[in-house]
Amino acid sequence: MVRKLALALALAVCLLPAAGCWNAREVNDLAIITEAGIDLTEDGRIELSVKIYLTSPIGDSGSGGQMSNQPNGDKGTSVIRTVTGINMADAASRLQKMVSRRIFWGQTEVFLFGERLARADLEAPMDFLMRHVASRERSHVFICDGTARDVLLLDPPIDRSVADALIAMAERQTGLNITMKELAQMMVGKAKAAVLPIVQINTHKEKQEAYPFIEGLAVIKEGRMIARMNEQATRGVMWLRNEMKQATVTVTPDDSGGFVSLHLMRSHTRLIPSIENGRWIMTVRITGQDDIVENTSNLDLSEPAHLGKVEREMERFVEERVNLALNAAQKEFNADIFGFAEAFWRKYPKQWKANAGRWDEIFPKVEVRLETDLRIARPGLIGKNFFRRQKQR
């Protein structure tokens, strides 16, 4: 019994090296890509730029080759490699030739697409990225105003890298926050339309270093970018997509002689589809709660009547923006970037099936009914702006 067991164990141990180790990768042998940019060259080739994190402390120019455990000044610890290829896979394999270590895609947090590439074709690179075993579905995706390489080359002063800066901005929900998985879902979803935030570069001015920021969005339909939306319309899209989490809105109530600024605490947008007599109707119910952060008007915000007035004004303001986005999407681009198609499909699967091929005809005619209900939850510690009253005396 013991002898048999020992024999079995010995055999199992002998098998181990046969089975294992071949896919072992030591951290020291990896070229860790933290962000990747994909552009289209003039002659239609894919240009892949990657930022590789330098793990070697010797390469650290700041510490002068001294061995140190402190990450003293993580600046300048990355290198950028750019290769071109006929498609993503080709470019990626060429990239491997340029790098002494094994390319590791598992930590790539940000993918940037150049605008030219996005306008030409997003489907091919997306196939590569979703098919690749190591790449993260949770990585963030942006469209660049210009080329992705230019954004990669930036060295924003606050964060460790461009990737960190962009992720932080996206997650703060001041702009759209789209991950690879969400993008893929939108692109292959019922509407075949997607949105991506646009990264712009604030150029170098005097002492100010150039830095990236997120503004506006790109509308993607059937695998390519078809249009851009400005910041106002982007806010409207975010309201409709239930992605509005942080906003400060300034309104001017009638005959108040000033502004009231509100800070959004929480909001929720519900899409309620209905089909009445062959008319496709979408009821958009936006609810939210706000804090008042500044009041320069002559309204006394401790009075419910005045609060109601501000609330109405606020609702009007939001509706305006939402209508801006709706108009652009429905009339101008005919791209269902709000997920209306999914909502209809869920509630009316049969009707959807019958009309699946006609969505492009239906979408511009969908009647949208806005129901906004925004409340002021906390008017703040003071009601009136009493500084203002003193001034009047």
């Binding site: 089975a19 294992g20 180790c21 072992a24 030591e26 951290v27 860790i32 793990t55 190591a134």
Partner: protein
């Protein structure tokens, strides 16, 4: 062999048995100045003064001729007197430290219970100290140990059965159980297993532990050893059997489950909320102590995408200059740590601190700054070390320390898959184990609702005692 009526004949035979035994004393005197008598005892095992005052003096000064056995017994002032008729019995009584009186003309001898030898005082067991609770521990004397049990359980239902084991050592062994609580079949099983032992000497309970275990090849202990009378009594109350051995302060408890190895008496002495929290902390670190380095090796060599990016970059940085693979590094550091620990355990306390200083410098600071091992690895080893110190019983700590290495190897070969394989193999073994017929992993497997309240949490006492 029966004793002879002839004193000289008996003495001649006894002297032959105790040839070259300088510590055995033959003291002859006359009862009432007339009848020849002989006292035989081992020096150092008896109360010599009591013997003089209560046995020798009254007999010497009393009437002399032809005393009957009963007569002699009544004239001595000793509470514990036994008459011995056989020669083997005589030898046994002498060995156990009872002086024996052989009187001329009588075919029976008297053994006086005047045993007393040097023994350690009752102290707090160092391996199982508590902050709250009794601080007494068992000592090397079986008599004292049994007395400690009896002092805690004063019911006549506490039964103590004695037997002797060891063909040379003839070590007295006691089996204690609570009648009506312990199942009779369990007691029978324990007795029959004990009686089957063929052994020359029993110096420690470990000698018999290996004989009576269910699975002799398992690295896991299937009996619980403790030095604490309160622990022994708690288990007695739960219907378990306690085996005590003369000459060692550790006693054995059977049957046990895996989870009883992860409990401490203090779980029950502290408030139940605290007891539960600490128990879970212990469970968590138990897993860490088994899998800590393996998980690290697996993730670092196979699953780099699992690590959050910032952490990954920092780790990549610190691993950059390391000449070894993560697996090698882990083996190196873990072996070093075990060596350090073993070295520290065997050294006198004064030198022990020197070892820890050297160890901290060598495997900690110097190794990192020399770029031989990476800082995260040292952290993992240190955390694993702390975790393994949390094992409340040394006997469960050892197998875990050992099994860490094969699982580490599997992790280095196959990543998390290997770790899972190792864990599955280990669980299969644990689920197969039994301790005196009780499944090792009960009450978790097979699941038993009643027992869970003392495993998943330490239920308050009023719920704990309710047997529903």
């Amino acid at each position: 062999m029966k004793l002879s009526r002839d004193l000289l004949e008996n003495v001649r035979r006894l002297r032959a048995v105790y040839r070259d035994c300088a510590d055995v004393v033959f003291h002859s005197f006359r009862i009432g100045g007339h009848t020849q008598a002989m006292l035989v005892y081992v020096e150092g095992l008896i109360l010599l003064e009591e013997l003089d005052r209560n046995v020798v003096a009254p007999l010497r000064d009393g009437p002399g001729p032809k005393p009957a056995l009963e007569d002699v017994r009544n004239r001595t002032a000793v509470a514990s007197v036994r008459s011995v008729g056989t020669f083997d019995g005589l030898v046994e009584e002498i060995a156990d430290g009872r002086p024996v009186l052989i009187v001329d003309g009588l075919d029976a001898a008297l053994a006086f219970g005047l045993t007393d030898w040097e023994q350690r005082t009752v102290e707090e067991p160092t391996a199982e100290s508590v902050l709250r609770g009794p601080r007494e521990g068992f000592i090397e004397s079986l008599r004292t140990n049994i007395a400690m049990l009896r002092r805690k359980i004063r019911s006549p239902k506490l039964k103590i059965v004695t037997l002797r084991l060891g063909s040379s050592s003839k070590t007295p062994i006691a089996v204690a159980y609570l009648e009506g609580t312990a199942s009779p079949s369990l007691v029978r099983e324990v007795m029959s297993r004990l009686n089957r032992i063929e052994i020359r000497d029993v110096l420690e309970t470990a000698y018999i532990e290996e004989w009576i275990e269910d699975n002799r090849y398992s690295p896991f202990p299937q009996l619980l050893s403790t030095e604490r009378p309160d622990v022994a009594c708690a288990y007695l109350m739960e219907g378990r059997v306690v085996i005590l051995v003369e000459g060692t302060p550790t006693v054995l408890i059977a049957p046990i489950t895996f989870f009883s190895l992860l409990q401490t008496p203090e779980d029950y002495y502290e408030r139940y909320v605290v007891g539960t929290a600490i128990r879970w902390l212990r469970y968590f670190f138990f897993v860490i102590s088994l899998l800590g380095p393996s998980l690290y090796v697996a993730v670092v060599t196979y699953h780099q995408e699992m690590i959050p990016t910032t952490l990954m970059l920092t780790m990549a940085r610190s691993r950059e200059q390391i000449p070894f693979t993560a697996l090698m590094e882990a083996f190196l550091m873990e072996t070093m740590f075990e060596a350090l620990r073993e070295a520290g355990a065997r050294l006198p306390k004064q030198i022990g601190s020197a070892v820890s200083i050297v160890g901290a410098l060598v495997i900690g600071q110097a190794a990192i700054s020399a770029g031989i091992v990476s800082a995260p690895m040292v952290m993992v080893v240190a955390i694993t070390g702390i975790a393994s110190f949390m094992a409340p019983r040394y006997t469960i700590g050892i197998p875990i320390r050992l099994l860490r290495f094969p699982i580490m190897f599997l992790a280095g070969m196959m990543g998390l898959l290997g770790v899972m394989l190792g864990v599955i193999a280990l669980l299969t073994h644990l689920l197969n184990l039994r301790s005196f017929g009780v499944p090792y992993m009960s009450p978790l497997a097979p699941i038993e609702k009643r027992g869970l309240k003392d495993v998943l949490w330490r239920a308050p006492r009023w719920m704990l005692n309710r047997r529903t």
